[in-house]
């Protein structure tokens, strides 16, 4: 790690010498959250995210940025924040139990003709759905606040080679190679948003000890890397894409075994092919959009009688259909239907063969966008559970925004959202940009 840091500092210094005009931006943020059930501080977080960018000559652009974060409540990642799910060169630097520092952007763009090659640590966003994902699988996600934060904050940037080739004026081919074995960052047991739903985690019979081992992460840089492409085009008002990604599923397979009359869970990872596409089309005040993705291998959990639960693999076809409506001034309304089908579903599986979620996003601006209110509701039809996120932003000054919000979970404790039924919270935040 030290070598890496030294190299980064040297690189930054050397670049700043040769760069013509450097731009330095910093965002500072302070957020607190109070749990509505337990009435304790669920979050008290100060974040500072400086970044620097500029041109190296005519056609090379670079950007570097870090995020330093101190959560004084220490409820989301109790104890020293871990790096179990991250590749060695994507790990966070931690100080004590409350501070973590992460490299969020570190890349160069090399432009040639109409093509661009972006090399370095970056985020790749596929798909456009709100709240839940179908095609947006390139980068893993941190679940320390479940799915509540903006994806931009929770997505984990990866070291990636990203080549975007312009084929004609409205067609693009994106080629990706991701030699970074970092996967979803799942909170440890005891964390506020530790996953507890039997849909995801095995539940041992009462009195049986459960031991969760460190994940068995693939570690070969080349052999275990991910690769894929996205072909996108814009024709006659239709925006279309074809996507393919050969990758390790970022969600671990939780293999269980019995040892000394206790249960041992070992998170493992497995490869899958993702093939799919997306479309969107604007007509009148509406935009219709959709994504479809087929994953060749998904591990699902199965409940055996009187035995430790097991897992098996199935293909999964998932899609989202969305309708956005802009017809009311200053208001944006968007409804989505997410569905996924386990193609080789067997009886006794924890998830249903068809899983459906509905979402509704309503956003309204007031007073020339100085006040923005947003409601995002996601409702799972299978378990009748869901989450409601309501927030109001107030732009006080050009670079100063205060935010208040409430996040409410409801439904069956065994459901994906219902598991956090007792984690409803009220949030307040202030954000400053320099």
């Amino acid at each position: 790690m030290k070598d890496l840091h030294r190299a980064l500092v040297l690189f930054a210094v050397s670049m700043s010498v040769s760069v013509s005009a450097l731009e330095l931006d910093t965002i500072g943020e302070f957020r607190v959250a109070a749990g509505l059930e337990d009435e304790v501080a669920a979050l008290a977080e100060a974040v500072i995210a400086p970044s620097v960018s500029g041109w190296l000559g005519e056609s090379v652009f670079f950007k570097a940025g870090v995020r330093a974060r101190a959560d004084f409540a220490d409820e989301l990642e109790p104890g020293r924040p871990g790096n179990d799910f991250r590749a060695r060169f994507s790990q966070r630097v931690t100080a004590g139990s409350i501070v973590d520092i992460e490299l969020r952007n570190f890349y160069v763009d090399v432009e040639f003709d109409d093509h661009v090659l972006r090399l370095g640590k970056q985020q790749i966003v596929w798909g456009e759905a709100d709240g839940l994902k179908v095609l947006d699988v390139v980068n893993p996600q941190s679940f320390r606040e479940f799915i509540l934060p903006d994806f931009d904050d929770s997505r984990i940037p990866l070291w990636t080679a990203n080549l975007e080739l312009a084929l004609g004026s409205d067609t693009n081919l994106q080629l990706l190679w991701v030699p970074d074995n970092t996967y979803h960052d799942l909170p440890d047991p005891g964390a506020r948003f530790a996953l507890a739903s039997p849909l995801l985690l095995p539940a041992a019979p009462a009195g049986v000890a459960v031991q969760l081992l460190s994940p068995r992460r693939p570690s070969r840089v080349v052999a275990d890397s991910d690769a894929g492409f996205r072909l996108s085009t814009f024709r006659g008002g239709w925006e279309l894409s074809l996507n393919y990604f050969y990758h390790y599923d970022d969600a671990p397979v939780l293999r269980t075994s019995t040892r000394n009359r206790g249960v041992v869970i070992t998170p493992e990872y497995q490869r899958t092919h993702l093939a799919g596409g997306s479309f969107n089309y604007a007509t009148g005040a509406y935009v219709v959009r959709g994504e479809l993705g087929y994953s060749s291998r998904r591990a699902v959990r199965r409940q055996h009688h009187d035995q430790v639960p097991g897992v098996y693999n199935t293909g999964e076809l998932a899609w989202v259909l969305g309708l956005d409506y802009d017809g009311v001034r200053d208001t944006f309304i968007s409804g989505q239907l997410f569905q996924s089908v386990a193609t080789a579903h067997r009886p006794g599986t924890m998830r249903d063969k068809l899983e459906s979620n509905l979402s509704l996003l309503v956003r309204r601006d007031f007073r020339n966008e100085t006040i923005n209110a947003e409601l995002l509701a996601i409702h799972g039809l299978n378990d009748n559970d869901g989450v409601l996120q309501f927030s109001v932003d107030y732009v006080l000054r050009s670079n100063l925004t205060v935010t208040a919000g409430v996040d409410l979970f409801y439904g069956d404790r065994d459901g994906l959202f219902g598991q956090f039924d007792r984690q409803d919270r009220l949030t307040l935040g202030i954000e400053v940009g320099f």
């Binding site: 509406y286 409506y325 007073r367 940009g433």
Partner: protein, 1066 residues
């Protein structure tokens, strides 16, 4: 209800839903109340629109033409203030003339009155011949002193036929002051001001002063509505609470449904406010309807809840709630679906905007009532410490249940008699329908003892009439009106018009010509004719302009003497009379007037009103047919049987026929207020059918014994609830009959009759027909035929969601009809603006500064690029500072093809997502500025196809002579999209840039002003460097400063890809 003694709970999906709702009742109540407050926050934004124009689409050719006429001749619906001598003398006494003069000048100083458009004896001039030609003297300057002035004016008017009947009564016993308003929407306040002015003026004995005219009618209707609303609403609440207390005799029973009512009202009216839909005259009827429906849902739920609580006292309150909700969820959902179908029928079938909105928002309200009944009500019932209802503990002895039981016994014993009676009603109804008459007159909206009604009557008696029909004569070129032949044809047209019923007089430029012709012929009465010589006519006008005020004719001819307005005064606004008049005019103009030299078109208030009134009948029958069809389909779908759908319609059709009978035989017109009753009667009446059929199916399936005995429990249970349902709605409409607006009174009474008929139809006719016909969908309805509840609810909610989102959008769908108008000059100027060279590409920095009314400023630095790809213009803007908005990007493809929607994308860095945004939101404000997306995209240009353009003059601004071009969106849809009702550009033709742009909103209020303060020539291209916008509504201001403008460096094509948008600013 199960027959054993355990709670009827079986753990199905619906029950699970209500267990979920009642698990966190506090949360549900809080969320529901928050939503209520949110919706209610839209109510203060409601704007009243009581104008007759509200009833006609703004893109109707009659309106478009009328608006053009308004522009040319400056004619508007005026206030008319009349001084009428009540003592049999004339108004030519000194003190009476002084009164007219004082009032005229006081009115000219009033807010919202156009001081240049106040006309009275005190402003007009006399035309007389003198030794050396013609003298134009103001009437008040005639005579030597105040005594002789009166006599002189009397003599002059006697000699000036033009003013007889228009400004002065033909017997000299009355005179008028005509005043035009600046802003129609503020007519109500202006009317109040005028009344106050008249009250404060010292009026001489023997004179009455009246305020009337179209503007007054519109204005006063606003006051009328205000008074009505403040009176009707508390009355409704009181009436409902009374019914509820009577039904349940508990406090919660009285209070909780009122919460659902509040949410329903807030939902419909609040969303109306948020959506910018005005509160029309007929919107007053919406509230009682929604209240009735909201209460009905609550009554059914509470009845079931209290019945269960009385029957199973040992079960918990939550169990009672869940059991009651799961039992009532289905029928309430079914009635909601069918009622919504009825209102959607009105929405689809009606053409008049207020009626369309009535249908749409009634449907929305019904959905809100349904949502709150199924969420807030169970949550609140669980939360509150409720007792049981004394009524339901002693259920058997409840007199309403007993009453309904007796009613049932009577009906079931004589099925044939019941059917025969109702068949007679149907026949009478059909006979009544054949006597229906379509008629309307806006003044009849007032009671006959109202001052406005009295004023209108007095004015129409003393003068030629306050209803105007305009005939616009257009000649092919400038000064075409100097042709004697054209003027003679106008004269003949006037003579013809004055023979028609109700037409009492007319005014045109011909009257002035004749007066002037006589004046120059030494006042020889024989010379009161149109001269034979075009040259002489031109001379007469010239002579007048040198001695009088040339603007005196601006209501009669345009500036170029190309178009003339012939105004006919009618003393009646009754549709049927004026229909005949318009038909006669149309025939005359087509057969005898039109020729190469001149053509005529009808316009004016009477003509515009005729246009929408003639659609009332069609509208009515079309929306009736659509509503019936939709309700039939919905009912068929919910009962899985087309026969059941038809069966459900029987009471509804019966009630409509009964109303036709009442209208036909009672002489009630099919007018604005009454034409909507049918769709509403369907929406409300179908509830009774659905509840009855649903319950009969259940009873037929479960019970034992004969069909009649199995159906008997219908009456004390569902029948009792329906009785209170009927009672609540009936009371709601009873409240409406206390309205001061006569059409609302009739409307309320008619719907009351309809609901009564539907109730008795459902309670008497449906069970007896069931016994007589034994329909399969009731008698054979096995368990399998019932709808799978959970799925039904899921899909119904999904459908409701789709309907809601769709409803918001669909309402924008409007017909576009191009107005035909010659606009060559305006087109030329703006075409030059659009064709202005902008270079093939440009790069520049832009500082945006947004300042709120308190002076707090926000700044954003951006860099923007533009490039033409052939005709297609692509623009991209990236934010560069401050850090928290950095990388926000906006990309747009602006196509030359007007039929092709532009494409645009927004990149929000917080989401890392490029969001496609629809092009129809081009009137939305761009990222917090006062520029719309369209303004940003067009950059001081416009889409020519969006506007009807007209050059209205020239103006000196800052020492530069600028061409003033006015644009009106070509139709309502475009106006709504742009958010603009009118735009006035001040174009510097030397550089083809508008230096000053004034913009009005779709309601005609001043919206914003754009000022271009710095322009320079960069790389040979005229370029705006600084532009400011002031938003007059919000007090907000935006300043744009462009810098580092570079037209020379080529902008790479890749800058305009969505992938570049994602990568952010460079």
């Amino acid at each position: 209800m199960s027959k054993n003694n355990t709670m009827p709970l079986d753990g199905n999906r619906i029950e699970r839903m209500f267990w979920l709702i009642t698990a966190r009742p506090g949360l549900v109540v809080v969320v529901a109340l928050c939503a209520l407050v949110f919706m209610a926050s839209g109510i203060p934004r409601l704007v009243k629109d009581t104008s007759a124009d509200a009833f006609i689409a703004a893109d109707n050719p009659a309106v478009v033409y009328r608006d053009r006429v308004k522009q040319v001749f400056g004619l508007d619906d005026p206030f008319v203030i009349a001084a009428i001598a009540s003592d049999g003398r004339t108004i030519y006494t000194a003190e009476r003339l002084a009164l007219v003069q004082n009032l005229t000048s006081a009115i000219g100083r009033m807010d919202n009155i156009d001081p240049d458009r106040v006309t009275s004896l005190a402003t007009e001039s006399n035309i007389v011949g003198t030794a050396d030609g013609m003298d134009v003297t103001e009437f008040y300057e005639l005579g030597d002193d105040s005594q002789t002035t009166g006599q002189a004016i009397a003599a002059a008017i006697d000699d000036f036929p033009l003013y007889q009947g228009s400004i002065v009564g033909r017997d000299g016993g009355a005179t008028l002051i005509v005043a035009e308003v600046l802003d129609d929407k503020r007519s109500q306040a202006t009317y109040d001001d005028l009344l106050a002015l008249v009250a404060a003026t010292d009026i001489p004995d023997g004179v009455e002063v009246h305020v009337a005219g179209e503007a007054a009618v519109s204005g006063y209707l606003g006051t009328y509505i205000d008074r009505d609303a403040t009176r009707l609403n508390p009355l409704s609440a009181l009436a409902i609470t009374l019914v509820l207390v009577l039904a349940f005799r508990t406090l919660a029973g009285g209070v909780l449904p009122n919460l659902v009512v509040a949410a329903t009202a807030a939902g419909a009216l609040g969303v109306m406010g948020i959506a910018g839909v005005s509160f029309f005259v007929i919107t007053n009827g919406l509230l009682p309807i929604l209240i009735g429906i909201a209460v009905a849902d609550s009554i059914h739920i509470l009845s079931e809840y209290y019945a269960l609580a009385g029957r199973f006292p040992e079960a918990s309150r939550r169990q009672h709630v869940v059991a009651a909700m799961s039992r009532m969820c289905r029928p309430i959902t079914l009635t909601t679906v069918t009622t919504v179908a009825g209102f959607v029928g009105l929405w689809l079938g009606a053409e008049m905007p207020p009626m369309k909105y009535f249908g749409a928002f009634a449907a929305l309200g019904v959905i809100v009532a349904w949502v709150y009944s199924l969420t807030l009500l169970p949550a609140a019932l669980t939360l509150l410490p409720l007792g049981s209802s004394p009524v339901f503990v002693r259920h058997r002895s409840d007199r309403f249940a007993a009453l309904m039981q007796r009613f049932g016994a009577v009906v079931m014993a004589r099925p044939r008699a019941v059917v025969a009676t109702l068949a007679v009603v149907a026949v009478i109804g059909a006979a009544g329908a054949s006597r229906l008459v379509v008629e309307e007159a806006q003044i009849e909206n007032f009671q006959k003892d109202e001052p406005i009604y009295l004023a209108d009557t007095a004015l129409n008696r003393a003068f030629d009439g306050t209803n105007y029909l305009d005939v616009i004569v257009e000649t092919p070129g400038r000064e075409g009106l100097f042709e004697p032949d054209v003027l003679r044809r106008i004269e003949a047209l006037q003579a013809f018009g004055e023979t028609l019923p109700g037409v009492r007089g007319s005014t045109s430029v011909v009257d002035y010509i004749k007066q002037m012709h006589r004046a120059v012929n030494e006042n020889d009465p024989a010379a009161y004719t149109v001269p034979d010589d075009a040259f002489l006519i031109a001379q007469l006008f010239l002579l007048y302009s040198t001695s009088g005020d040339p603007t005196d004719f601006e209501e009669e001819v345009d500036y170029d003497y190309q178009r003339a307005n012939v105004r006919f005064n009618l003393n009646t606004s009754f549709y049927r009379n004026n229909r005949e008049v318009i038909a006669s005019f149309e025939q005359y103009i087509a057969e005898q007037f039109n020729s190469d030299g001149a053509v005529a078109h009808l316009s004016g208030r009477v003509f515009v009103n005729h246009h929408w009134l003639k659609t009332i009948g069609d509208n009515h029958f079309r929306s009736l047919a659509i509503s019936l069809a939709l309700v039939w389909l919905m009912a068929a779908a919910v009962f899985h049987s087309f026969a059941a759908g038809a069966f459900a319609l029987i009471p509804v059709v019966l009630s409509i026929l009964l109303i036709y009978a009442v209208m036909g035989f009672g002489g009630i017109w099919l007018g604005v207020g009454t034409s909507m009753f049918a769709a509403i009667a369907i929406g409300l009446g179908i509830d009774f059918s659905i509840h009855t059929i649903d319950r009969m199916r259940e009873l037929a399936r479960e019970g034992e014994g004969t069909l009649a005995s199995r159906l008997a429990p219908l009456f004390p249970t569902t029948g009792r609830a329906l009785f209170f349902n009927f009672f609540a709605i009936g009371l709601g409409f009873l409240v409406l009959t206390t309205s001061e607006v006569p059409p609302l009174v009739k409307f309320g009474a008619l719907v009351g009759v309809a609901v009564t008929a539907a109730f008795f139809g459902a309670m008497a006719l449906m069970p007896t027909l069931t016994i007589l016909l034994r329909p399969r969908f009731i008698v054979d309805a096995g368990a399998g035929a019932a709808m799978p509840g959970g799925r039904a609810v899921t899909w119904t909610s999904a459908c409701a969601f789709v309907v809601l989102v769709g409803a918001l959008g669909w309402s924008d769908v409007a017909r576009s009809e191009n107005a035909t108008a010659s606009v060559a000059e305006g087109q030329r100027v703006m075409r030059a603006v659009v064709a202005r060279d902008e270079g093939d590409w440009v790069t520049r920095r832009l500082l945006m500064r947004m300042i709120d009314r308190n002076g707090t400023a926000r700044e954003r630095d951006t860099v923007s690029y533009r490039r033409y790809f052939g005709d297609e213009k692509r623009t991209v803007i990236f934010y560069t500072a401050p850090a928290n908005v950095k990388d926000t990007g906006f990309l747009t493809y602006d196509y030359a093809d007007a039929d092709k929607d532009d494409d645009q994308w927004l990149y929000l860095p917080a989401l890392r997502k490029v969001r496609r945004i629809s092009a129809s939101d081009r009137g939305d404000y761009f990222l917090g500025t006062d520029f719309t997306y369209e303004d940003i995209k067009k950059e001081n240009k416009i889409a020519l196809e969006d506007y009807q353009l007209d050059k209205v003059g020239e103006r000196d601004v800052g020492g530069r002579q600028l061409a003033v071009v006015e644009g009106i969106p070509v139709n309502e849809e475009i106006a709504q999209e742009l958010g603009y009702g009118r735009v006035r550009w001040h174009v510097d033709e030397t550089i083809a840039i508008s230096r000053l742009t004034e913009i009005w909103d779709v309601n005609g209020n001043p919206l914003k002003t754009l000022t271009v303060s710095e322009i320079s020539k960069i790389d040979g291209i005229w370029t705006v460097e600084r532009i400011e916008v002031d938003n007059h509504k919000t007090g907000h201001r935006t300043e744009f400063e462009f810098s580092a403008i570079d037209y020379r460096s080529e902008v790479a094509e890749r800058m305009f890809r969505t992938s570049t948008l994602k990568r952010g600013a460079r």
